[in-house]
Amino acid sequence: MRHAKHFVRLFALLAVVLIAFLAVRAQVVPKDFGTLGRFRASAIKEAAMREPRHLGNEACSDCHAKVNDAWAAGKHHTPQCENCHGPGLLHVKVMSEDSVAAYPDRIKAFPKALRPTTGTQECLWCHLKTFERPSALKSIKNVERHTIEKGGTFTAASKCTDCHNPHTTVVKQ
């Protein structure tokens, strides 16, 4: 057995490489990788865990019941609160009484933690006439022309909400 030690060295080396590979693999590959497929099974739970940021009208009506009732009784049903005002999660957190103390700086910087509304842009998202928009939708070509046509006076500060109530679509007198 002149060459026996060659084999011993070779297999020893292979064994070391194999053990090193298995050790690294055990460290690098997560435990639940491959139990449901070629991915980390717990990633599904993590993806489902995140908190929804849009809370829905019911959450809004907890504090703003009056506006919500007006909206429900009016004709402007398809857009909901958060369509124009933005997601309410942070707003609720900031405005709830125990959080007001916790985030004084944030409240100072951004009082309501909601998307600021312009009173015109939110309307024009849907109601600006474009060629591709279905004609059944009530839409205007131009805010200035619309104001003048309806007998109003248009200034740079004019807003849709000057005349229209966005929550009910009732035209203010």
Binding site: R2, L36, G37, R50, H54, P79, P87, W125, E132, R133
Partner: protein
């Protein structure tokens, strides 16, 4: 190299040759073992039958229908999606495309900021080019999002197993595993994925997985004022989406690619790509 006589004549060259031979055998049998082991990996739990009455009653298979005939192009879906999922500026998980057709056969597709700020009435400007010079003949909006394909090119190319499909048929990214190589971004034929510059991982529409698992609708569906987006369990014959799939003729984007999308479209024009 078995008999003692061989050992006496074994040269260094012959020894190395034999070693290489043994190595090749190990590799071949090893790869065979690995291949069979991979074939035995648990397959995706979803059933292959997808339809209003397909699958068994217990399984939840989500489906999505976009009714392009109802879309008014307001961009509510885009804004709701970006706010709900904290999508960085300049990137979109869902977007709205504006198609305008001119009499000379020219089609203009427009999607400023993905439709996040709505669409302008820029018709006078659009008529300015000499080569068009005519009023458009027809136009419409097409909302786009991840198709959550059954045969996904994006999951196949992921080298680290960061992209996967849940039992409900939702295609998701594991941000912990993702190395941000961008293969999936290139593999997706619908442009639904992007590399998020904040996390440096692949990002995409999840059908708001964190909402649908809590019984809510995806943000874009909930806040579509035109009800152009319908989401639900296609395995429940009484769900809204099953009723819509049963009573409408639906189409998928790029059906010739064979990715079998779970997002289906009503009123899809042949010019829409």
């Amino acid at each position: 190299m078995t008999s003692p006589a061989d050992h006496e004549e074994l040269t260094r060259r012959a020894f190395l040759e034999k070693c290489a031979e043994a190595g090749a055998h190990t590799f071949l049998f090893g790869s065979l073992f690995v291949t069979t082991a991979m074939m035995r990996l648990p397959q995706e739990a979803t059933s292959r039958t997808v339809g209003p009455r397909g699958g068994t009653a217990k399984e939840v298979i989500y489906g999505f229908v976009v009714d392009t005939t109802k879309c008014i192009g307001c961009g509510s879906c885009v804004r709701a999606c970006k706010a709900e999922n904290n999508v960085p500026d300049g990137y979109n998980r869902t977007w709205v495309e504006q198609y305008t057709f001119f009499p000379n056969g020219e089609v203009i597709v427009n999607s400023p900021n993905g439709g996040e700020n709505g669409f302008e009435d820029d018709l006078p400007e659009r008529n300015m080019p000499e080569e068009i010079g005519q009023l458009p003949v027809r136009g419409f909006f097409v909302p786009k999002l991840c198709n959550h394909c059954i045969d996904t090119p994006c999951i196949q190319v992921c080298p680290v197993g960061a992209s996967y499909k849940t039992a409900e048929g939702v295609v998701l990214v594991d941000p912990q595993r993702c190395v941000g190589c961008g293969y999936c971004v290139q593999a997706c034929p619908f442009g639904s994925r992007f590399l998020n510059p904040e996390t440096n991982t692949a990002d995409k529409c999840t059908w708001c997985y964190h909402r649908i698992t809590k019984g809510l609708k995806p943000a874009c569906v909930e806040y579509c004022p035109a009800k152009a987006r319908i989401f639900g369990n296609v395995n429940d014959p009484y769900s809204e989406i099953s009723q819509i799939l049963a009573t409408n003729r639906v189409q998928v984007l790029k059906s010739y690619l064979g990715t079998r999308p779970r997002t289906r479209y009503i009123g899809l024009d042949s010019e829409v790509i």
